[in-house]
Structure formats: structure tokens, C-alpha cells
């Protein structure tokens, strides 16, 4: 028998207040040059997303184009290994290979309703870039994707996909030449093209209303998990949900409908890079402090002078010096447990999952799997891991890894 339901206050953790704050985090710290667009979005996103027309189009695209619902797979071998019940939410089976497309489908419909003709996006691993290029191709809209020069190198297959889909990929050459810098360039593009352009942010970051809007579009993940668990186990509630956190969109979607349920442990997994104390890390909650980046107040890796520091992770999608304000609040209030996983541990987990369950995960996702080793479970626990994406894009990194060579 399960414990009786204990609920937190309505939407305390999953939704912001009307100024876009999750506790002390969030808001819209933007220059006036962005105000008209962000305000237009803020005033309209809930209105548009609430119309019958939007809901019909969104659900139809998720079903017939993205391939939802994605399966919830009982991972027998992993379950045996960890002595518990492990379920995998198969976002890797989404069209284009990751959860990112749930958000781009939603935002492209918003952009259409707002009459925008030109779409811009930032991308790290390239999954969000591909997902954006895909919906732009579908809708016949111009698409420009900003990507750090370093990420263009390490995620080459996704760069080729974006180009084939008709998007223009613009290298971001400033700073660490990764996701943060791509985001800066996208924001500058939006400032310079404010009339006709919509910026599809790829994670639960950015000024209000982006974190809330992206979380809502990704919340389909936990909505489906509930339904599928109910069918497979008789109860819609797991004991643990686990997801990796870059900006935090797959985690936000995985946590969304469980966030107010005290009986469900939320476990967020950050990238430790070469180790939290190595100076080469992206574990924002461990290394960061309260600051403002990309339009919202959140936790941020920075110097004492407030200069943003350059993160490191082997995984381009987690190589970001901040996290979304929703997650900063989950951390601060201790509602979620934050773990961190090194590059090496993530690689190890990727190889292990491939061999034991026949699934090659994205490097980002591999961090969530590595976290299994840092947790203890009871036999009767029900653990859901969000398998946020597949590993095709990371094959060259995997092939360079020592473990691959040792296995030859």
C-alpha cells in the first residue's frame, strides 16, 4: 500500500508567480530592446496555448509527427542489477532523437500565431537546433541556429542535419565558444531583428515567460509517465524520477506533474566535468551563486566580480554555467536532490546502458544513468529515468573513448 497523498501547495514548484518568479528565482532582466517582444510573448503565450486551435494542432503534431506518446520501458536487466524497478521514459524515440522537439513544436505554433516569419535558436548538443530546423522546415519558416564553434566540431552530425533541413548554422566565436555564447548571439540577433523574429529558446532558461512556457511544453513527459505507470504498475506515482540538467528542460518536463507530490523524489543530475573541484566543471548548483544570466535570476557559475565563468562538460548539452530558475528553486528549497556525474562516469554509463539494455543514450542522458550508482533503492521502489535522447550524435566521442578501444 502506498502512503496517503501528501501535496504541496498548488503549483508551488512547477509554476512561477505572475512576475515569473519561482521563489526568489526568475523574473525578466532584459534590456529595453527586448522588452516589446518578451512582453508580447508574456501577454499571449497562455492565451494562444489555451485555444482549441492550438491544442488540436499541438496534440496532432506530437502524435503524428513526433511519435508520441513515447514508450515507458521496464528495464529488466538494469532493474535486476540495482535490485529495484527501473523504468525508462523513451524520449530518445521522439522524432529527431530527443525531448527537445516537444518544445519546438509548441513554440513554432506560438510563433505562427504571433505572425512571426523568421525563427532563431541557440543550440549546444545540436538537438535543439535540429528540432528547431525540423519544425521550421515543416512550417516553411526561415531558420537560423547559433552554435558555439567548439560544439560545431564535437556535434558534427547534428550540424549536417540542420543544414539538410534548410537551416543556417552560425558559429558563435566568443567566450568559451559553447552554449552560453550561442545564447548570447541568439539574443543579440533578436535585438537586431525584433519585428519579424521569434526566438525559440531550447531550455527552461531565459526571461519570463520562457521557463514556464518551455516547462509546459515539456510537461507532456510526466503527464504520459503518470498514465503509463498507472497502467503498468497500478499506481501513477513513482518513488523516484531522475533526469539530467543542462538548462533543465527535460528535467522540468519529467518533474512537472510530480513536483507537488511529497512522495516522489526528484533527482536532478548535473555534469561534474572533470570533477566538481577541478576547475573544469558544469555543476552549477555546487559551484554557482545567485546571479543574473540570459534574462533571469538564478544560480550561476561566476567569479566574485560577477563575471560568468566558463564551464566544462564532455557533453555539449550540459556545458552551461547556469540552470533554469525552476531548478534553482528546487535546489534552494531542497525539494529536489542534485547529484553530479563526471565525464568519465557518464561515458561508463553510456557503454553500460548500450550493453545491458540495447540502448545507446546521448551523453547528456548518460549522466542521469550514472546517477543510479549514487543512490540506494528498495526492492519495491519505482524509479523512472528520463532517457532524454539517443547517442547517434555522440558516436565520435564514444569511439574516441578508451572504453571503446578496450572493448575492440
Amino acid at each position: 500500500m502506498r502512503k496517503p497523498l501528501k501535496k504541496y501547495k498548488h503549483h508551488q514548484f512547477s509554476s512561477p508567480d505572475k512576475y515569473g518568479y519561482y521563489g526568489e528565482f526568475g523574473g525578466a532582466f532584459i534590456p529595453e530592446m527586448l522588452h516589446a517582444n518578451v512582453e508580447n510573448l508574456r501577454k499571449n503565450y497562455l492565451k494562444i496555448a489555451g485555444t482549441k486551435k492550438f491544442k488540436t494542432a499541438f496534440n496532432k503534431l506530437l502524435k503524428d509527427f513526433v511519435g508520441r506518446p513515447t514508450p515507458l520501458f521496464y528495464a529488466e536487466n538494469l532493474s535486476r542489477e540495482f535490485g529495484t524497478n527501473i523504468y525508462l521514459k523513451r524520449e530518445d524515440l521522439c522524432h529527431t532523437g530527443a525531448h527537445k522537439i516537444n518544445n519546438t513544436v509548441g513554440q513554432i505554433l506560438i510563433a505562427e500565431a504571433l505572425g512571426k516569419k523568421r525563427i532563431i535558436a541557440e543550440t549546444g548538443a545540436g538537438q535543439h537546433g535540429v528540432a528547431t530546423a525540423t519544425v521550421c522546415a515543416l512550417k516553411g519558416l526561415e531558420c537560423i541556429v547559433y552554435m558555439g564553434e567548439k560544439d560545431i566540431e564535437r556535434q558534427a552530425p547534428n550540424v549536417a542535419r540542420m543544414k539538410m533541413l534548410g537551416a543556417k548554422v552560425v558559429p558563435a566565436r566568443s567566450g568559451s565558444k559553447t552554449l552560453k555564447d550561442a545564447t548570447n548571439e541568439a539574443i543579440r540577433d533578436w535585438i537586431n531583428n525584433s519585428e519579424d523574429t521569434h526566438y525559440i529558446i531550447g531550455s527552461v532558461v531565459g526571461p519570463h515567460p520562457y521557463p514556464d512556457m518551455v516547462a509546459r511544453f515539456q510537461s507532456v513527459i510526466s503527464k504520459e509517465i503518470k498514465k503509463q505507470l498507472k497502467k503498468q504498475t497500478g499506481s501513477e506515482l513513482p518513488t523516484h524520477v531522475i533526469a539530467c540538467v543542462g538548462g533543465g528542460s527535460n528535467a522540468a518536463g519529467t518533474f512537472y506533474h510530480f513536483a507537488e507530490d511529497k512522495n516522489v523524489q526528484l533527482i536532478a543530475v548535473e555534469a561534474a566535468g572533470c570533477g566538481v573541484d577541478s576547475g573544469m566543471s558544469a555543476a552549477t548548483t555546487q559551484l554557482g551563486s545567485v546571479g543574473v544570466l540570459h534574462g533571469s535570476k538564478s544560480l550561476l557559475m561566476q567569479t566574485a566580480d560577477g563575471q560568468v565563468t566558463e564551464p566544462h562538460s564532455i557533453s555539449a548539452g550540459l556545458d552551461y554555467p547556469g540552470i533554469g530558475p525552476m531548478h534553482a528553486n528546487l535546489y534552494k528549497t531542497k525539494r529536489a536532490t542534485f547529484l553530479n556525474i563526471t565525464d568519465y562516469e557518464a561515458l561508463d554509463a553510456a557503454f553500460h546502458l548500450s550493453k545491458t539494455e540495447g540502448i545507446i543514450p546521448a551523453l547528456e542522458t548518460a549522466h542521469a544513468f550514472a546517477a543510479l550508482h549514487k543512490l540506494t533503492f528498495k526492492k519495491e521502489d519505482v524509479v523512472v529515468i528520463n532517457l532524454s535522447g539517443r547517442g547517434d550524435k555522440d558516436l565520435s566521442t564514444y569511439m574516441k573513448s578508451a572504453q571503446f578501444l578496450n572493448n575492440e
Binding site: A28, F29, P31, R188, I191, S194, G291, G306, V308
Partner: protein
Amino acid sequence: MNNTLTQLFLQKKERILNVYCTAGFPALDSTVKIIEALQQAGADIIEIGMPYSDPLADGPVIQQSNLKALQNGMTISLLFEQLQQVKKKVTIPLILMGYYNPVMQYGLQKFCEDAAAAGTAGIILPDLPTYEYEKMYKSIFEKNGLSFIFLITPQTSEARIRQADKLSSGFLYAVSSSATTGGSASMNDKVGYFAKLQFMKLKNPLLIGFGINNADDFDTVCKYASGAVVGSAYIKAIAHVDDEVATTEKFVKNIKG
């Protein structure tokens, strides 16, 4: 509010030239020399940029100057020390411009106290929204005798312009087009917007900035506003010269005509 900035606008109503420089650029100790040279050359206001790793509203020229200044080792504390050195020699108003995060880490209260002690008269933080300003910070700026200056753009609604005008003191900063700094759009194409602003009879004097590159641009905007802010063009001019002082002299003369 009564400070050197508000005093200036009481005495001078037209062709006010505000020149932007990035603190610590091109060299760590350039700022003091540049402030003296700008004053000597006839600038009316100096806007000192506090460098930041992620200057979102800036184009390539000012981005590069921020990066260089940070590599040189510029910080807010060091800037305040340098300003203390020139304080006695500077009679024209100095204002500080920067992004919110470094100021937040410095501590806003301490920042305002130290900025006032260093002899500055006003602050521009483009990513500090009006909502936050009113809720938390307005009184701190006021208590320290600092003007706070908001930006408006061609896309800012009339109601919002009036609100920015109400909350600002010293002057209101009108961005010439919705763009990052350093654009090359023609000022002649913007005169409709400038005329509209002129017609609004705002409480604060207006300075127009972003994309003011030469004497023609300066003359054009001065027909509609009290003056202009020149940033990227000046940064470009001093980026690669040996003698910042002589270059500054020439630059200001060229703009003012």
C-alpha cells in the same frame, strides 16, 4: 535630484556630447588618461562602461572592448580606485554603465555608496527592469544622490516611455533603433521617431545613442534632442592607437564640428 548631471542640463540645453568608454580599455590604466582627455577636448558627459563577460546588448566593437578590459584585469573596485585619483580634476559629470550581474555581486547598496564617493552622478543598468528598480532599488540610488537613467527604443510604447521618463533623472536615453550598439543605420531615417519623442514634451532631456558615428549623425540628432551618446565609434578610434590623448582630442573636435 541635484548632482553634476542635473546641473549640466540646467545650464546647457543643446548639443550635449556624452562619450562612452570602457573602463580598462585599451589598457588597464587608460581610463584616467581618457577621462582627462575627454574633458579637455570638450565632452560634456563621460559614460564609463563597467566591463562584463556577457554584454548582451552590445555589438562586436564594445564586446571586444569588454573582453580586453577584463583580460587587462579591470574590476568595479579597481575602477572606483582609479576614479578616486582623478576625482579632483574632473568637473564634468561621470556616469557608470554596465550590466546588472557584476553590480549585484558587488552589492547594490555598497555599489551606490562607492559610486557616489568616487564622484559619479548617474547609473545606467540596461538589464535592470523598471519593476525591480521600483520595488527594491529606487530609494538606494536616490539616497546616494545618483541619477538612474532608463533606455527607450522605437518599440517602447508611449505609456512605457512616460513611465521611464518618470523614473529617470538626469536624462532619458533614447536608443536610435532597436539594435545592439554600433549599428550603421542612417540617422536621417529615424527622424520621424525623434520628432515624435520631441513632441511628447518629456520631463527629462533626451540624449540619443546607438549608431552615432560622425558629425553628421550628431548634427541630425541634435535637432531633436539635447544631445547624443557616442560609443562604438569612439572605442574603434582608440582601439589601436599609441596616443589616446591626441586621438581623443581629434575625435571630439570632429564630432562637435
